[in-house]
């Protein structure tokens, strides 16, 4: 059970300003709504504004929310905060203002206040005719539940901004900025992206220059020189194989390459493991076949 403030519970059990606003079709009055979130992600907010055009101010605000206790309370709070404000004043409202109005929110529920701030922005931008960029792929598996940030959004932010640290991800998309329980997941995503980039780099650097544009992973399409082959084998062993073995207390080193025979030395726990044949076949040979040459055979010395 979340530890909600009394104000949150009061506005949840007795929400104010719920519903829609009918357009009165009066001069100097405009009705507009902005919406954020999705049913896929588990919460959504549609914020309705009644605007006096001559003063650029908010005459009335109402909401419709699909979401949890704090989402409903945050929506209610937002409508109270913005009524009577000019649009420019409203644009200065932050999610923290909403949380403060509620007497605070649990860290993991801060995204409900973020949703309110974003819906407000969406409504005002819509009224002013400003296009708000929306990425459909932001829907999907959430990584940061505090701020409702999906894995796809994080991956895009990393790629577009060439982010390299978890802290940067937090600064760019807020993911990880709440309870922090997703920081390890964000780090995994970063490592995965970095790893993918390295894998893509490995083969082309060993491929003749003229072939690079048509280079297709997982292994080079043109014959490798012996030196290229050995270098690539060593790289795959270092980046793909050894981390797995090290995690199990084992290790492996490249001893020699004779044609398609790759001679390796199993070390640590792998050296004495009764499953070393499986290790050679599935953990090492399969990787080398996938990433270097399909004809390679791995043997232990």
């Amino acid at each position: 059970m979340w530890d909600y403030s009394e104000k949150v519970l009061e506005l949840f059990y007795n929400p104010i300003n719920q519903g829609t606003i009918d357009d009165p079709q009066e001069p100097d009055v405009a009705v507009v709504y902005g919406e954020v979130g999705s049913i896929a992600c588990g919460d959504a907010l549609r914020l309705h504004l009644k605007i006096q055009q001559s003063t650029d101010s908010i005459l009335d605000a109402r909401f419709q929310t699909f979401g949890c206790t704090s989402a409903i309370a945050s929506s209610s709070a937002l409508t109270e905060i913005i009524k009577g404000k000019t649009l420019d004043e409203a644009l200065h409202i932050t999610n923290q203002d909403i949380a403060d109005f509620l007497g605070g929110l649990p860290e993991a529920k801060m995204h409900c206040s973020v949703m309110g701030q974003e819906a407000l922005e969406a409504a005002i931008y819509k009224y002013r005719g400003i296009e708000v960029e929306h990425h459909e792929d932001d829907d999907g598996t959430l990584v940061c539940t505090c701020y409702g940030i999906s894995e796809k959004k994080i991956r895009r932010a990393i790629a577009e901004n060439r982010l390299t640290t978890v802290e940067q991800v937090t600064n760019y998309v807020k993911a990880g900025g709440g309870c922090g329980s997703c920081l390890a997941d964000i780090e995994d995503i970063l490592l995965d992206i970095q790893h993918s980039a390295e894998s893509v780099k490995v083969a082309p650097t060993l491929t003749p220059e003229k072939e690079q544009s048509t280079q297709a992973l997982p292994y080079p399409s043109t014959p490798l020189t012996n030196l290229q082959k050995i270098t690539l084998i060593q790289q795959v062993i270092d980046t793909e194989v050894r981390p797995l073995l090290l995690a199990d207390g084992g290790d492996v080193s490249l001893h020699d390459v004779e044609g398609d025979r790759v001679l390796v030395k199993l070390q640590g726990a792998c050296g004495s493991c009764p499953s070393s044949t499986q290790t050679l076949k599935y953990a090492i040979e399969a990787k080398l076949k996938d990433l270097v040459l399909p004809s390679l055979i791995v043997e232990a010395i």
């Binding site: 049913i39 588990g42 959504a44 979401g67 993991a108 959430l142 539940t145 499953s275």
Partner: protein, 397 residues
């Protein structure tokens, strides 16, 4: 007064169980591992409890290892199964297991194991053909639930076990939700390992047991002591063990009356489905535990429903989002391919032998108003289904 309909989360400790435990929390405090008779008499109580648990399962007392909980049982079972056949590197489980299975499997994947996650259909049922197709000579372990904790859907464990056995794989069953609710006879079963947890059957929290079939090549998970014949180190939780034994004895008696729970559950389901539009029983078409129902209330969100119920003194559970600290919908309901309109608004009611008809009537009285209030707030109410369809969200992808 509390109306407690969250018995798949935990159950009330039976007063008789508590009474059985009390001497071991006070005057009978000896350590059963001690050499003196003061401890020895405590050891006898442990063996009685072992017989009681074994009797409930149709097992032999020597096949029961006491431990701390279901998570420990599941972790131990997987560890033991892989240690028994170290040359095999393939595990088969299902997409709807408890995190105590799924998290271990994910961990093992990072250690080089291959894991197959069997899918379920929209009723939460497995396809045995899919299991058969996934089996190989390299499959070390098949691990499935007996019954799902969220929907109560029962898996065909005897058939699954027979398939696993034919490929030489170990079969482990996480029976945490099933023990005490359905008859289990391990004497004639292909199950090698079975997990149970005390607090799901009116014993206290912090006590569980693992059944290990006689002759199974078991390697202990917890090392460092000779307790449980060297199969689980750690000082015995004597009061817990005694309580689990008593709870097992009572559960065996209760099995004859479990139909009453099913009738109350059906009364709850029928009442909700007939008075509240746009509701559905998740897994309703499949064989289910007698005490569990999982109902989807379209267009509204689970935590909000729970808070409204909580104000009425009614305890239930939601696989959604906010209750579990995650905004992801339940992995079980997601695996069943349910629409988003249902995924986030599903509530689990789980009954026990203490549940009364008056409590069910109370839920049926308050529920329509709760749903109506929340649907009035929602942008996804009945009039705006097009809103979802425009965004292709009416059906989960």
């Amino acid at each position: 007064m509390v109306t407690y309909l969250d018995n798949n989360a935990t159950t009330r400790t039976d007063p008789d169980v508590l009474a059985a435990m009390l001497p071991y929390l006070s005057e009978l405090y000896g350590n059963p591992s001690s050499m003196h008779s003061f401890g020895g008499q405590v050891g006898a109580a442990i063996e009685t409890a072992r017989e009681q648990v074994a009797s409930l399962l149709g097992a032999e007392p020597t096949e029961i290892i006491f431990n701390s909980c279901g998570s420990e049982g599941n972790n131990t079972a997987i560890h033991a199964a892989l240690a028994a056949q170290p040359e095999k590197r393939h595990i088969i489980t299902t997409a709807v297991e408890h995190p105590a299975i799924l998290a271990v499997c994910k961990h093992l994947e990072k250690r080089g194991y291959q894991v197959t996650y069997l899918s379920v259909n929209s009723r939460g049922e497995l396809d045995l053909m899919e299991l058969e197709a996934a089996m190989t000579g390299g499959t070390a372990l098949v691990t499935t639930m007996y019954a799902n904790n969220e929907t109560g859907v029962i898996f065909p464990v005897e058939q699954i076990g027979a398939i696993a056995q034919s490929y030489g794989a170990t079969y482990h069953v996480d029976a945490v939700q099933a023990v005490g609710k359905v008859p289990i006879n391990l004497a004639t079963s292909p199950i090698d390992l079975l997990t149970l947890s005390g607090h799901k059957l009116h014993a206290p929290k912090g006590i569980g047991a693992l059944y290990v079939r006689k002759g199974f090549r078991f390697r202990p998970f917890l090392l460092g002591g000779h307790q449980e014949r060297g199969r689980r180190a750690g000082t015995h939780n004597v009061p817990g063990i005694v309580g689990l034994g008593k709870a097992a004895e009572l559960a065996q008696i209760h099995l004859a009356h479990v139909q009453r729970e099913a009738e109350l559950r059906d009364m709850l389901e029928h009442g909700i489905l007939t008075t509240i539009p746009d509701t559905v029983v998740n897994g309703g078409g499949a064989p289910r535990l007698p005490n569990t129902t999982n109902i989807g209330f379209k267009y509204i969100e689970g935590e909000a429903i729970l808070f409204m119920l909580n104000r009425e003194g009614i305890c239930a559970s939601s696989g959604s989002a906010c209750t579990s600290g995650s905004l992801d919908p339940s992995h079980v309901l997601t695996a069943m391919g349910l629409p988003y309109t249902i995924l986030h608004g599903s509530i689990r009611f789980s009954l026990s032998r203490y549940t009364t008809e008056a409590e069910i009537r109370q839920v049926l009285t308050v529920m329509p108003e709760i749903v109506e209030r929340l649907r009035a707030l929602s942008p996804f109410n009945n009039d705006q289904v097009e809103w979802l369809q425009e965004r292709d969200l009416a059906v989960a992808t």
